[in-house]
Amino acid sequence: MAKDGPIAVELAKKQREIGVAEFFARNRHLLGFDNKRKALMTTIKEAVDNSLDACEEASVLPEIAVEIIDLGNDRFRVIVEDNGPGIVKKQIPHIFARLLYGSKFFKLSQSRGQQGIGISASVLYAQLTTGKPAKIKSRISPKHEAHYYELKVDTQKNKPDIMHEEVIEWNKDHGTRIELELEGSYQGGSQSVDQFLKQTAIVNPHSTIIYTNPKAEQLIFARATDTLPHKPVEIKPHPYGVELGVLIRMVKLTESRTLQSFLTTEFSRVGPGTAKDICENAALLPNTKPKEVTREMAEKLLQGITKTKIISPPTNCISPIGEELLEKGLRKEINAEFYCATTRPPAVYRGNPFVIEAGIAYGGEQEAEGSVKALRYANRVPLLYQQGACAITKSTVGTVWRNYGLSQSRGALPVGPATIVLSINSVWVPFTSESKEAIAHYPEIIKEIKLALQEVGRKLSIYVHKKKKIQMEGKKRDYLETYIPHVAEALKDLVGYKQADEEKVKELLGEILEQNRGKLEKIEINNPDYDEELAKIGKEPKEDNPEDKTEDKPNKEPTKEKEEKSNKEISGSKEPSKEDKQKTLG
């Protein structure tokens, strides 16, 4: 005990700040770089996400070229080039070679990127595996020069390390191009780059993606519409979503003079009346100076917020894919008999508005055995990994599909010839990790997903029952056709008519019996939107990367426990009636 001091002094020598870049360099699986195959996919995903976000923000119809070049020895060169607004010279190094640097973290509006990690993490990964810098080109307008950078991340300081920079000639008005060399592995299949780009193209029909794969084959996902999606509006945070630490920071930074005006200017859906209510519920004076708010007072304020009824945040900040587009996407991808899709009204979790969309394709060329397939999207980005850990999967499992014509064992995905597509759109999509592969299990989100699934489920059941009825009718007709000759033949023995008469009797019997039955509807696949070539992409060999399996396993087991736990919570709460829904929406 007496030696306490000296040991602590000794220990203190080893204690120092951990660079955020260094931390992620060691924990690259947190960012989606756990194996070579996934690393390649994640790199492309981050680059494409950024390109799409940038184009949409600048109201430019995206045109993105993606190229993967196989350099041998598990090394690949990845090039992603867009026609976006470009990046001003000063920002280029920070955006590409500094982690947690970005514009999207601080604002509340629907976008693909959120934290400012993605692309710089790819640069970091490339640099760690090949030692090569990222090569960036960017130009903001024809009047400006194009800049070229070679960048690395200084992992200790989390700062860009500029290896080389120059002004170059670029025959492009505006846009950005990134080139990376990294270790990776290219494979087809449901978790491949091909699949990712295809699904991205399906839910972003306003973009053209030109993809050159490592086999040097070029696939063009052409733009299907010239209309950009409704541009999401940026919103202020909603009081219900704010946490104590954030609140304290906001109070310190505000320019407002009173608590009341702080509340009305910094938050959405808070007018003077609501602000007064909050203050009253918090037992604080509305004219308190924000600068004088202590930690204790902030805590009171937070309690006041929870006690006050505040209408839900505005929902024009969300730009869902839309029922029509979702269904069309399914039609392109799957040749089925029945399609339907639905967009739920906006809902709120932790003060963040979100919209759930669901669609289903049933029957046709899909396999009847095995679990239904699920396509997941978050803010128009396909989610290909960690299906088991995702709230979407949990909600699908927790929905009773037997009523809707699919078989399902307890606690499992439904079985049948169907593909379910689910999309969450939010100003802040809660992912379970920075690699953005699975949606966190917020009860409000799970509830909304279930309601969306139930909506499409009900439509599905109408079709499935109709199909069964038609099949029954078909069987009945077969039955008739089996026994009509017997009636005719027996009657021939009894009445003693001729062979020709027997045929006539058969014919007449057919007419008599079909008279009351009406026309037989046909079950058929009628889907002009189906694109066979497109559907093939990403489905090539029946792969299933062993690497992925080992990767997925440790993730699955811990989440299972969690799932079971929250399952109980869910089953306790009843499905809300329509009135309830309207309440939550205000």
């Binding site: 008739l480 017997h486 027996a490 009657l491 009894l494 009445v495 019997l509």
Partner: protein
């Protein structure tokens, strides 16, 4: 007779054919064969069929049975024309040639056969079908005059000369003649009781004819008793178990016929039959050992009281059934053995037969 059946078959088939030519769904009218389609009049003495019919219209759900019914009519026509016969089971096997229209089990073919029979309002023998069921056994003071199938000469069968055995009632009894000096016919439910009475020559002591019905009497057995009782003006006493089945199924069917054979009860009933025992009152009077009534027994009693026109006609029977319902017990014929094996011969039957007025109607 045969021609009438044949004519019937042709008429029905023609109607179906004409309907089809008119592009109308053909139908076959079948009399409803159930108790709800009979009435009981004591003067007539049997269950008379009422006009209720079920129409077998040709639809998807009936087409198989419809085809089978026509096929069965065809088979019958063939049998009559060729003066041949087929047993119920044989008919079932013949159906195996009908491909998809074949019967899967004999009860199906039996039902269709009964339908055809009822539709034509004839006895199944008249349309070429014969039952397999055994007709019952006879012992006692009776000479049956049958014909030798080869020589066509009369055959005199003396029913006193079967020793410990008995004469079997043939399937067809219309041609039989009788000679007897007996005073009554005793129809017995169980083969066991019949054996006891035969062994001790009860028929000689009481000067009677003993008939073993072996459960619900067959058509042949009913017809035999009817013809014998009619031609020799003999009273018929029925000795059955003291339970709802003995009253409501065995005795009732012998006396007035059944719902299922509503169309032919006229010939297959024995209106002069009276119920000797075992009555519910006997159970008390003779202190008989009993078994408790089961749920099915209670149900049967309720059903008889509610739906059986015969029971509904006779207050005595209603009283007896209600009495049994309250006793919650039944007794078998052979429970009389409690008082000694031959108590039935020495005491019970003689005492009963002295007072035929007390028999149940």
């Amino acid at each position: 007779m045969a021609n009438k059946a044949l004519q019937g078959i042709k008429e029905k088939a023609d109607l179906v054919y004409k309907k089809i030519l008119k592009k109308k769904a053909p139908e076959l009218d079948l009399p409803l064969r159930s108790l709800s389609n009979v009435k009981y009049d004591e003067k007539e003495g049997y269950f008379q069929i009422l006009g209720k019919k079920k129409e077998r219209t040709l639809t998807v759900s009936t087409i198989k049975t419809f085809a089978q019914t026509l096929r069965m009519m065809g088979l019958s026509k063939q049998l009559i024309e060729q003066e041949d016969i087929a047993s119920k089971r044989e008919a079932y096997y013949i159906s195996k040639n009908w491909k998809e229209a074949k019967f899967n089990a004999q009860p199906e073919s039996d039902t269709v056969m009964d339908d055809v029979e009822a539709m034509l309002m004839v006895n199944r023998e008249q349309i070429g079908f014969i039952p397999e069921e055994k007709g019952g056994e006879i012992a006692g003071q009776l000479i049956v005059i049958d014909k030798d199938t080869e020589t066509k000469k009369d055959l005199r069968i003396d029913c006193t000369k079967f020793g410990s055995g008995a004469y079997s009632i043939p399937i067809s009894v219309e041609h039989l003649k009788f000679e007897t000096k007996a005073k009554f016919i005793l129809a017995i439910e169980t083969a066991g009781m019949f054996q006891r009475l035969v062994k001790h020559k009860y028929w000689k002591k009481a000067n009677c004819i003993l008939i073993s019905m072996g459960g619900v009497p067959t058509r042949a057995c009913r017809r035999f008793i009817r013809r014998l009782a009619d031609s020799k003006k003999l009273p018929v006493y029925v000795f059955a178990d003291g339970d709802p089945y003995g009253y409501g199924s065995i005795y009732r069917t012998l006396k007035v016929g059944s719902g299922n054979a509503a169309h032919i009860n006229q010939y297959f009933c024995v209106p002069q039959a009276k119920f000797l025992g075992v009555t519910p009152q006997d159970i008390i009077d003779y202190k008989l050992p009993t078994h408790p009534l089961k749920d099915v027994d209670f149900k049967k009693i309720k059903d008889l009281l509610k739906n059986d026109p015969f029971i509904q006609h006779h207050k005595e029977w209603q009283k007896a059934l209600k009495q049994m319902y309250q006793m919650k017990a039944r007794a078998e014929q052979q429970s009389l053995a409690k008082w000694g094996l031959n108590y039935v011969i020495e005491k019970y039957l003689p005492a009963k037969i002295k007072n035929p007025d007390k028999f149940l109607p």
